[in-house]
């Protein structure tokens, strides 16, 4: 049974200050950005009686601003806007690729990066890309602001470490210098569009002149309650050459950092094998 629009109070703040004051007064109110998740729950009748704070008038929060060493992406930037941004395309191609796999054009035109993070789906397709780019999240509330490392934002399935009344204002993504030697974004789902991921991967690799690993960053989504960096494999490979033995060991260590489950979309076994294959192919440079 769908929600009753007549029973839903909507607040439409015109400024960030008004939005934060509204949430201070009603910390249980639901912030609404592009609505691609919230409206699905609302249509299913799950959010009846909740007050909604519509953030869509906060136009300044949709901006993408390029600086000397980073880009600041407003929380309300849509997945479509991120794909069209020249600086994001140049510096963060894995994020562009991730945004292009979310739903299809109708969802990309509405869904926002801030909403995507706040919704905290275990299958969020931008998260592996963000996990390897290591942005800082600017969170604001009526009582102040703080920076949250992306690695600290998720608390579990559909849960963040944001406090009641706190909103994501923007993300600052530092430019990668030097540029990585190799990079990967890959979503594995049933269909190219509209499918929720079985597993989704993003990787960055820096090799030094001798061909040893200077740094590896590899993240997987949909295979744990939250997106996971493969810390054990990353640490193991640092300073090593990529050969059959070291790659096999990295793939074995992958299991230390993820915990895939059987569910409606896939099985634990499939997710584990495909995740290992993605890591192996990336490290082999295929």
């Amino acid at each position: 049974m769908r929600g009753d629009p007549g029973a839903t109070t909507v607040l439409r703040p015109a400024t960030p200050r008004q939005a934060l004051d509204a949430l201070r007064r009603e910390p249980r109110a639901l912030p609404l950005a592009g609505g691609t998740d919230l409206m699905v729950s609302w249509n299913a009748g799950l959010l009846g009686g909740r007050t909604v704070v519509d953030l869509s008038r906060l136009r300044s929060w949709a901006a993408i601003r390029s600086g000397r060493e980073s880009v600041v992406v407003g929380a309300l930037a849509t997945h479509a806007a991120l794909q069209e941004s020249a600086v994001v395309r140049r510096e963060f191609p894995l994020l562009v690729a991730a945004c292009a796999t979310i739903g299809a054009v109708q969802i990309q035109n509405r869904g926002t990066i801030g909403g995507n993070i706040a919704n905290a789906s275990p299958a969020g397709d931008t998260f592996p890309a963000l996990a390897v780019y290591e942005p800082l999240i600017q969170a604001v509330s009526a009582s102040g602001r703080r920076l949250i490392a992306f690695s600290e934002i998720f608390a579990g399935v559909k849960k963040t470490t944001l406090c009641p009344g706190e909103l994501i204002e923007s993300l600052e993504l530092p430019f990668l210098r030097p540029k990585p030697s190799r990079q990967l974004f890959r979503k594995v789902g049933t269909r190219a569009a509209q499918a929720i991921s079985k597993t989704v991967a993003a990787g960055l690799l820096w090799l030094d002149k001798k061909g040893t690993v200077a740094e590896l960053r590899f993240a997987l989504g949909s295979v744990a309650p939250t997106v996971r960096r493969l810390s054990a494999a990353e640490r193991f490979l640092a300073g090593k050459r990529l050969d059959a033995d070291s790659i096999a060991e990295a793939c074995r260590l992958l299991e230390k950092d993820i915990s895939p489950i059987d569910d409606i979309r896939s099985t634990r076994h499939y997710r584990l094998e495909v995740s290992k294959n993605l890591l192996r192919q990336f490290l082999e440079g295929r």
Partner: protein
């Protein structure tokens, strides 16, 4: 009170601000060309253009449409004077049961308007958010390619 434009006409909605755009279009403005399929943003049947871009009208509360422009299938043409895409869908057999057709037409319209390519892969990617359970898509893709060629000639 929420004011916006639909197919070039000014409209005002005085009901609840969290009413879904699709319900405002169909039940209040009697523009029943837009269809509801899944009601959860998966199928694309309810696609309309919001400021020229395709969106699922089942996921848009009307409060977010204030001051903006909406285009529906009724804006593409009329039975007496079909739009190019509508004519091509008819000629190529791009519709069977018809539920997905208005959404297909609107997404295709946005693709053509932004100068999207008319090869098979580009059209299929543009229409990936619109599901059809009847046609197998082939005739839909051909209809959009045909419309792209026809528009190119103008």
């Amino acid at each position: 009170m929420i004011a916006f434009k639909v197919n070039g006409k000014k409209r005002v909605f005085k009901g609840a601000p969290f009413t879904r755009l699709i319900d405002v279009l169909r039940e209040h403005l009697r523009l029943t060309g837009t269809k509801e399929g899944c009601g959860e943003g998966e199928c694309g049947a309810c696609t309309v253009l919001l400021d020229g871009e395709p969106v699922n009208s089942c996921l848009v509360p009307v409060c977010q449409v204030e001051g903006r422009t909406v285009e529906t299938v009724e804006g593409l043409g009329s039975p007496e004077k079909l739009g190019v895409l509508q004519r091509c869908f008819l000629e190529r057999g791009g519709a069977q049961c018809g539920i997905c057709t208005p959404g297909m037409l609107m997404t295709a319209q946005a693709h053509l308007r932004r100068g999207g390519k008319s090869d098979d892969a580009s059209i299929r990617q543009a229409l990936a958010g619109n599901l059809c359970r009847c046609t197998g898509y082939r005739h839909i893709v051909e209809a959009v390619a045909e419309a792209a060629r026809a528009e190119g000639k103008r």
